[in-house]
């Protein structure tokens, strides 16, 4: 794959960025997310997580089943502050 192929389109992270991060010592989707921001954008990794897991597998020689996906964090869809502010929540 070409180095400049965009893998995370929310944060503009390329295939080359990810391969370099892995050769620099990062080995999990969680670490790559924190250093490169891929998966931190509006789609929260829905588009790129699987691709990144595949790149980790091929770069490290692991199988795709061995690569853990990043923890999914709420809210699952981006939500406006005004909408949540007007929500009546009972504890």
């Amino acid at each position: 794959m070409r180095d400049d192929v965009v893998i995370c389109r929310c944060e503009d992270v390329t295939y080359g960025d990810i391969v370099r991060a892995i050769s620099g010592g990062l080995s999990t989707t969680e670490e790559i997310k924190r250093i490169l921001r891929c998966g931190m954008g509006p789609c929260q990794g829905r588009t790129c997580s699987r691709l990144i897991a595949r790149i980790i597998a091929s770069e490290t020689g692991a199988t795709i089943d061995d690569v853990e996906f990043p923890v999914v964090r709420p809210p699952t869809m981006p939500v406006e502050i005004g909408v949540m502010a007007d929500e009546h929540h009972e504890d």
Binding site: G41, P75, I81, M84
Partner: protein, 381 residues
């Protein structure tokens, strides 16, 4: 993995990696950092990234002032962008108690050389944050030199710099037990075997509590969940971290453009709970919508939680415990470890190497809780 080292540091957060770096810089390179997961996976990577010098105790203020000095040169020293930005901190007062406490704080802070000013509500909007709703705000203190940085990049920068000097960092290697013999530490037992070492530094955040217990040391620390959220990125429209102790909030706009912030729920019970709650999401949204009405149409993309390791005086525990020789503590940061990490780590490294720390840390020693009078810092958000 090594089976023997001069020093073992437990915890791959900003404190642990920075201690290892300063030890190695001073020549102690036979050091292993043990991290149970990945770097900054605990409190460091879950924090807001603020770097505040406006504190109410002398110890915290001095540590913060010296840390900002270190942060300023850190990108050059560690050869990495850590998104360090001096955007200031604006601290809002809402109550009589706030105003009274802030006056004391400013006197103390100015006495220590900090350039901090007091602002009226109209000065806040005309000079610092035009879009802030100042309803109910009595006054604010503002320090333009307060700052922020990216906790992941800072930790990675310390870790990589330490590795270049010969430090070994073992990820996904939890410590099971601290090993002791005849009142001295002898090493640690990990998931991947034992490492013998005459010095062990416990920098594992809230997890320092159960770890210390394996050596018979009881730390007066309690873990508390603190929640936080982040929005989609926006063009920059304010610079400082905005906080209030009485209103209960902190938030800033990161370099990337997103607004990040949270608050501490005073009713949160102690414990190792790190789950996210809907109650936080709605309450934090109300607070943000009130203080910054133009944020109403901005989308929240993610929320998470982390642990504050809170001590009775909200100040860290630094130093070698009296019960176990060679067993050093660097924990109990009470929610502000990231911002004082550089100076704290330098001092702990000096202490570990048997030098006299160049700033007095005796008052942060674990023995201060044994009957002595403690001074609580009131500036914790």
């Amino acid at each position: 993995m090594k089976t023997r080292a001069e020093c073992v540091v437990i915890g791959g957060g900003v404190i642990g990696t920075a201690i290892a770096y300063y030890l190695a810089r001073a020549g102690l390179t036979d050091c292993v950092v043990l991290e149970s997961s990945y770097l900054a996976s605990g409190a460091t990577g879950r924090c807001g990234g603020g770097i505040r010098q406006q504190w109410s105790t002398e110890a915290n203020t001095k540590l913060a002032i010296e840390s900002v000095k270190a942060f300023r040169g850190l990108e050059e020293e560690l050869e990495r962008d850590i998104e360090f930005l001096q955007g200031g901190y604006l601290v809002l007062a809402y109550t009589d108690d706030d105003v009274e406490q802030f006056e004391k704080n400013v006197t103390l802070q100015r006495g220590l050389g900090l350039d901090v000013e007091t602002l009226s509500p109209s000065e806040i909007t005309s000079r610092v944050v035009p879009h802030l709703n100042t309803d109910g705000v009595r006054m604010a203190t503002y320090c333009a030199d307060d700052a922020s940085a990216n906790p992941f990049l800072t930790t990675q920068a310390y870790a990589d710099a330490a590795r270049r000097l010969g430090v070994e960092i073992e990820l996904f290697t939890p410590v099971r037990r601290i090993l002791t013999e005849g009142g001295r530490v002898t090493g640690v037992e990990t998931s991947r075997g034992t490492i013998s070492a005459p010095i062990v530094v416990n920098a594992a955040g809230s997890h320092s509590i159960p770890l210390a217990r394996t050596a018979g040391v009881e730390l007066p620390i309690a873990p508390y969940r603190r929640e936080i959220l982040v929005t989609e990125p926006l063009e920059r429209f304010f610079h400082p971290m905005i906080i209030s102790f009485s209103f209960g909030i902190y938030f800033r706009q990161v370099k990337h453009g997103a607004v990040i912030g949270g608050f501490g729920d005073p009713d949160e019970p102690p414990g190792f709970n790190e789950t996210s709650s809907l109650g936080f999401l709605t309450t934090m949204s109300r607070k943000l919508a009130h203080l910054m009405p133009r944020l109403r149409s901005v989308k929240i993309v993610r929320q998470w939680a982390g642990l504050y390791d809170i001590t009775p005086d909200a100040q860290p525990i630094l130093g070698e415990v009296d019960e176990v020789g060679g067993f050093f503590q660097a924990n109990g940061f009470s929610g502000h470890g990231f911002m004082i990490a550089p100076k704290v780590a330098m001092l702990v490294a000096q202490d570990v190497r048997g030098e006299t720390p160049d700033l007095d840390i005796e008052r942060l020693h674990p023995r201060r809780f044994a009957g002595g009078k403690i001074t609580q810092d009131r500036s914790v958000v």
